[in-house]
């Protein structure tokens, strides 16, 4: 869930106040404060620049070269051109698009759950913690749990056997394998997102509901005409973080569940970056793919921020 949570953090970040702490003090003390402040920020800043910002620049450089990691031969846009003409890249991109099916599924489930939680029935706080549970688990745990459950000897096949159905090899077929990864994504993601949506619901003015109730609007009418329109901004936000997540963070699931197979049927872009990085002689190709992914996600994020800025005005 890292990307989803990181992105949501960034959503919060845009609200971060940036102004300093204006204080009226003699110049000498103020100057000393500036130096102390700078020194205090410096270690964190240097680590972040050195091991997050610089690597991105380095990745861009690598993407223009043919390299085994030791010798770099400048090749211009060759890697990018090769990628755009690579049928595997096309297939993998389409796989990612297929994984987008998970987005409406997760949002729909999360929406239902959030509306249920919003009723504040007995013990709703405990339900909240339970729904959040998958979020504290590693994708390795969730992925292996699902692969086990749908494995040849897994719970699902054992249950089918009770009805006399032969065991199904879910992971030898690309479509069923993708379906199971999508199921794992929904299971892992809906709880956190229902809490995001719940926060949106909570910020609706209760007077609106009361007024509607007095006017005789039933539960369903209130859901459709008041609740949903009022949280459309949060819904949009959740939609974008899901799309970003689908394109950048399926590595863990794919790694433990299918290793990208059968063939390249379940390989995603981020998994292909890993494959290109560690099983090919040209790291430049993997870096170019990563840069393309970065640009793509950057554009999505820009769209998200735009939508947010617009949304805040109304």
């Amino acid at each position: 869930m890292t990307t989803a949570s990181v992105t949501s953090r960034v959503g919060a970040a845009s609200a971060a106040p940036t102004g300093g702490a204006p204080r009226h003090k003699p110049g000498g003390i103020r100057r000393r404060d500036r130096i102390v402040g700078l020194l205090a920020v410096l270690p964190a800043f240097l680590v972040v620049v050195g091991f997050m910002a610089f690597p991105v620049a380095f990745a861009v450089f690598i993407s223009f070269t043919k390299t085994n990691g030791l010798r770099f031969e400048f090749r211009g846009l060759d890697n990018y051109i090769a990628l755009l003409n690579d049928p595997i890249v096309h297939q993998v991109f389409l796989n990612n698009v297929t994984f987008l099916i998970s987005v409406p599924l997760v949002i729909f489930t999360a929406l239902i759950v959030s509306v249920l939680l919003f009723e504040r029935v007995r013990g709703w706080k405990y339900f909240r913690v339970i729904f959040f549970l998958p979020n504290v688990l590693s994708v390795a745990v969730i992925g292996i749990m699902f692969r086990n459950a749908f494995g040849y000897y897994g719970g699902v096949n054992q249950a089918l056997a009770l009805f006399g159905i032969e065991p199904i090899q879910f992971f030898t077929n690309g479509s069923t394998a993708i379906a199971i990864i999508i199921l794992a994504l929904v299971w892992a993601g809906f709880g956190y997102q229902s809490l995001l949506l719940l926060a949106g619901l909570t910020s609706i003015n209760p007077a609106v509901f009361e007024a509607a109730a007095i006017d005789g609007a039933g539960w369903w009418k209130r859901l459709w005409y008041i609740t949903l329109p009022n949280i459309r901004r949060v819904l949009g936000f959740v939609f974008i973080i899901n799309v970003i997540y689908t394109f950048s963070s399926l590595f863990g699931f794919v790694y433990v569940m299918t290793a990208g197979g059968p063939g390249f049927d379940t390989t995603t872009i981020d998994y292909l970056v890993y494959l290109r990085a560690f099983s090919s002689t040209n790291l430049g190709s993997g870096a170019a793919l990563a840069v393309i992914l970065f640009l793509f996600i950057g554009i999505l994020t820009l769209i998200q921020n735009r939508v947010f800025k617009l949304g805040e005005d109304d």
Binding site: T2, T3, T7, R9, V10, A12, A15, A16, T18, P22, D33, R34, V36, G37, A40, V41, P43, A44, V48, V49, M52, A53, P55, V56, F58, A59, V113, L116, E119, V121, R122, G123, W124, Y126, V129, I130, L133, V136, L137, S138, A140, V141, M145, N148, Y152, W187, G191, L195, I244, S248, F251, Y255, D270, Y274, A277, L283, G286, A290, F294, I297
Partner: protein, 284 residues
């Protein structure tokens, strides 16, 4: 479910529509709890017993799977390795992020706007972009295959959010308290230690839990940066066990439970902090 909570919510809303909603929530909760329950129960039975009646309670209860994982497949060592890397990473993050967070919240740092912008924008970098350059950089520094490199990566990827989070939470500390301490002659570290740390302790605890979970659950860099089998962390070790023992569900289940145990314990005992951290993400 605690008694008092039931009583309180009963008082708040006692409409007749409650029951269907409660039951619906219960069903959703079951889809989360049942798979975990199944894993836990399965992990305490021999494979033959599992295959006979997978959905019943075990005919034979055993710790065999756990002992096997610890003695033969090094899961105990991997557990300790993860604990070590997680603890060190979180400690470093807390120290560096507290310093930066205090400065950004309370001191006139030159170029503050740009520094904050840097912290915020690197949060957008997707993990896959970092794989190749980080690997090459650490290889150049000759720290691939050592925990130093991995901890460095965890610290670097954790710091942007940590700094941002602590800046926000330290901002809540009243300036007057800090001013008063200064007048009493307290220096920078004195203020950090006796005012910022205690007054921001809730934020620090939240951050510690979140970052520890992040490091404990991380997979990609743990796979790439630690090729040596004896040094592996828990998640890659679990992945390789899951891959090798497709036919032994109880054994893999035991591995799953071991890996999930620490996050589950944290959620059980620190859910307050975890939920608080969530609020920051949600607040906007």
């Amino acid at each position: 479910m605690a008694e008092e909570d039931v009583v309180i919510s009963k008082r708040i809303s006692s409409s007749r529509t409650q029951w269907p909603i409660f039951i619906a929530l219960l069903v959703v909760a079951a889809t989360i709890i049942y798979p975990l329950y199944f894993v836990i129960i399965t992990s305490f039975r021999p494979n033959s017993d599992y295959l006979q009646d997978p959905f019943g309670l075990p005919g034979v209860w055993t710790f065999e799977n756990y002992l096997n994982l610890v003695n033969t497949y090094g899961i105990g060592q991997a557990f300790l390795n993860s604990l070590f890397v997680g603890t060190i990473s979180v400690s470093i993050i807390l120290v560096l992020a507290s310093l930066a967070g205090y400065a950004l919240a309370k001191l006139p740092v030159p170029g503050q706007k740009y520094i904050t912008a840097t912290f915020v924008s690197v949060m957008l970098i997707p993990g896959p972009v970092l794989i190749i350059p980080i690997y090459l950089m650490l290889a150049r520094l000759e720290i691939v295959g050592s925990y130093t490199g991995l901890i460095l990566v965890y610290v670097a990827t954790g710091l942007p959010f940590a700094t941002f989070f602590l800046t926000l939470s330290f901002r809540g500390i009243p300036d007057e308290v800090i001013e008063a301490a200064r007048i009493d002659g307290a220096g920078f570290f004195r203020i950090m230690w006796s005012i910022i740390a205690p007054m921001g302790s809730s934020g620090l605890a939240t951050l510690a839990v979140l970052q520890f979970l992040g490091a404990w659950n991380e997979l990609i860099f743990a796979v790439i940066l630690i090729p040596e089998e004896s040094m592996r962390l828990l998640t890659p070790q679990l992945a390789s066990i899951g891959e090798r023992f497709l036919t032994d569900q109880p054994l893999v289940s035991a591995g799953l439970f071991i890996t999930a145990s620490v996050p589950l314990l944290l959620l059980a005992f620190a859910s307050k902090y975890i939920m608080q951290g969530l609020q920051v993400g949600v607040s906007r």
